[in-house]
């Protein structure tokens, strides 16, 4: 692996060096359009091919437990209440009351105003960015549409960080991206990243949601991925879950390829989070295979890969119970939230 001096740069220095100038629309356009294109048919064929891997017995057991540990257990409803969030946290801590050996999920993902509730509910199990326990992720920047002024978006972020969020899931301005105002998208991400700084100087992790369902083409997804990483995103995330299609295997594959290329180029590891639409263990296993065969299985850790999901956990728990007991139970043997 080539480790260029780029690895030691700050994100903004790095971007400057790569783009070859200030992050203007024109410079970014030149850079992003210089990235090799994607052939949609070929990409989808490759994803389908990865989806045919047959993961059985011991591999399946490992995969099931790994999936649980990679889940951002999510509730993003207008109808969310503190009670609902506490219940979600309880589920995150003890996913399967019938088997205390079940791993915990990576994080809970909530709206900004619920961060305080989640942090309190987690108590000592709050990982606060560490490796033990559960993190709190907050969606911010006028999620899911992103249609607000920059000032409002930044206030949204600061608010969540101050309330104890360890991870911020921001949305990019898709309108600006599609209109070719790459500089604006870039600057917003940089500003949001800066707003992730806590009083003590540490940073909340930044996940950049591309909303691939609105970007429409794989070429756009690839360019947006590069843009988000150049601007300093720690994670690139497919979707808000509010737009269809949300995460798909080909889209995730194309983002993993960017992350792999970025690592080759700079030595820096960026995370990927497919979110929305992944509901079954079978689907989730296809994602694990795709990660392992595209970027390598060292990416199968919560710092580098997450599933944004709510109903996935229960299906995985049913599969886990089946592997333990040898027979299928049913939806009444897992808790509803």
């Amino acid at each position: 692996m080539t480790h260029s001096p780029l690895a030691t740069y700050q994100p903004e220095q790095r971007a400057l060096a790569l783009i070859g100038g200030e992050a203007t629309d024109a410079n970014l356009r030149r850079y992003l359009h210089g990235i090799p294109g994607i052939d949609a048919v070929g990409l989808e064929a490759r994803a389908a091919d990865l989806g045919t891997r047959s993961i059985k017995t011991s591999s399946k057991r490992w995969a099931i437990d790994t999936i649980i540990g990679l889940i951002d257990l999510t509730t993003l409803e207008g109808a969310d209440t503190p009670g609902k969030v506490r219940s979600l946290v309880a589920k995150a801590l003890v996913p399967d009351p019938s088997d205390p050996g079940t791993p915990r999920v990576a994080a809970v993902c909530v709206y900004g105003d619920m961060v305080g509730t989640a942090v309190t509910a987690l108590g000592s199990a709050h990982a606060a960015g560490g490796t033990e326990g559960i993190n709190v992720a907050a969606v911010a920047t006028a999620f899911p549409s992103g249609r607000a002024s920059l000032a409002i978006k930044l206030a949204d972020v600061r608010d969540s960080v101050a309330a104890g969020a360890d991870e911020i899931d921001m949305v990019i301005d898709r309108g600006a991206f599609l209109a070719g105002r790459f500089g604006q998208v870039y600057e917003e991400i940089v500003a949001v990243k800066d707003a992730c700084r806590r009083a003590d100087g540490s940073m909340a992790h930044l996940k950049v949601i591309l909303e691939t369902g609105e970007l429409n083409t794989y070429d756009n997804v690839r360019r947006a991925s590069w843009l988000a990483i150049l601007a300093g995103g720690d994670f690139i995330k497919t979707s808000t879950g509010k737009v269809a299609p949300a995460a798909t295997l080909p889209v995730t594959l194309s983002m993993l390829e960017v992350v792999r290329d970025w690592h080759r180029l700079t030595g820096v590891r960026i995370g990927v989070k497919p979110a929305g639409g992944i509901r079954t263990s079978k689907d989730a296993i296809k994602y694990l295979v795709t990660v392992a065969e595209t970027v390598g299985e060292e990416w199968l850790t919560p710092h580098l890969f997450r599933f944004g999901a709510s109903s996935l956990l229960n299906d995985v728990l049913l599969q886990r119970q089946k592997m333990t007991t040898g027979h299928y139970s049913g939806p009444d043997y897992v808790t509803i939230d």
Binding site: G42, R53, S54, W62, A63, E297, L300
Partner: protein
Amino acid sequence: MKFLDYAPAPESQALLNLKSDYGLFINGDFTAGRGTPFKTINPATEQQIAMIATANEADVDAAVAAARHAYDGVWSRLSGSDRGKYLFRIARLVQERARELAVAETLDNGKPIKESRDVDIPLVAAWCFYYAGWADKLDHAGVGPNPASLGVAAQVIPWNFPLMMLAWKIAPALAAGNTVVLKPAETTSLTALLFAEILQQADLPAGVVNIITGDGSTGQTLVNHPGVNKVAFTGSTSVGRAIARSVAGTDKKLSLELGGKGANIVFDDAPIDQAVEGIVRGIFFNQGHVCCAGSRLLVQESIHDDVIERLKRRMQTLRLGDPLDKNTDIGAINSAEQLARIRELSDLGQQEGAERWSTDCVIPENGFWFAPTIFTNVSTSHRIARDEIFGPVLSVLTFRTPAEAIAKANNTPYGLSAGIWSDKGSRILAVADKLRAGVIWANTFNQFDPSSPFGGYKESGYGREGGRHGLAAYLKPAVRTGSRSIPAAEHAPVTKKSASASKKSTSAEKAAK
């Protein structure tokens, strides 16, 4: 544990019901061969699967006579729609028995089960369905109205896609109204014999398809037999040349699908990750035992290092091993003989100064295996850039301009396939126009479809298989009797004739329901 060491996921052999001995399929029945039987082995384990009969001259005579009898007595008199019904029925039976056929193919050939399951067998069914549809539409096959069949077709097929090659040969021949004597390759007769069982299940009239097994001499006897009207061969250029020589001077119609040294051209504006996938699919699909393999990679100099680095990384994820495991990407080499040839040419490549790189994979103890290999720093004069290796070995050459790419791609005695990778549509069309290859893929490779004609230029053979063009190899223009045809009036008697023909054949029609 390492996740990527996927736990074994072997396909079950339980639904296979193989016999220990297989005879010849002549005139609708299995009969013992009069030659010395030979064993067919699993190339992944070298264990015997079954004993296969050898057809001697008398057996070939009997098979050709059965085909002639069936042609004169039944098949040439059947209406197109009735022939189509049989083909549709065969296609459905292939689908019903797909899993079984896939397992048998993998066992006998060594190819990964995911390929026999997802590519070979579905294409076998697709070919039968496709030509079933043509059987009553031959007026539109491009050889004029009311074309005539040729008679008895002698077909000799290779071991790389045993059942698929069988379907490529048998389906258009039957649709066009010919009867068939087919000889599968010596090392891969098994699925052809299972296919014979399917023909029995389908109640295909006796003698319409005869399958005789044996080595090259059986094939030679068959193509030289004076009773055949058509010879179709897929295999090596040297054997093809010998067949052309022996058929010359006879009135047998000949089609040959021979070797290749396909160029896979990657331009600097290519969708790079998909191009890498295409390179892998082009040369490592079916262990490289593909006549149209993209065995020469022509990559634009400016992106050479990047492409090779990506390719090597991708190749490390290829899983070589038990062909029956559902996660296996690279199966066994089909025979010791073929393995020796691949080794010989690869060693030669090294001696000639090319740089060899193989994936780091565990080679099983028994069976015939060859790790996926690429050669860089290859010159056009190297043997590995000219000879067909027919194995998982890629030769990488570079070019700087489209003109140079075209010149290098065409600089081969073969002309079967080529691939072009570029995001620029106009360039793809301009380059494709100048490549002398029968099949050109753009931003993909090794894709097959029954509606698309397939065949070669130069030493890659002549005649086309697949599509409307594939029918031309089994048809001749209508024999004109007396008066010149008047286009408008011509259709009326034709439809009348075929209507009365189908009335006559009610018993066969019943069978084909």
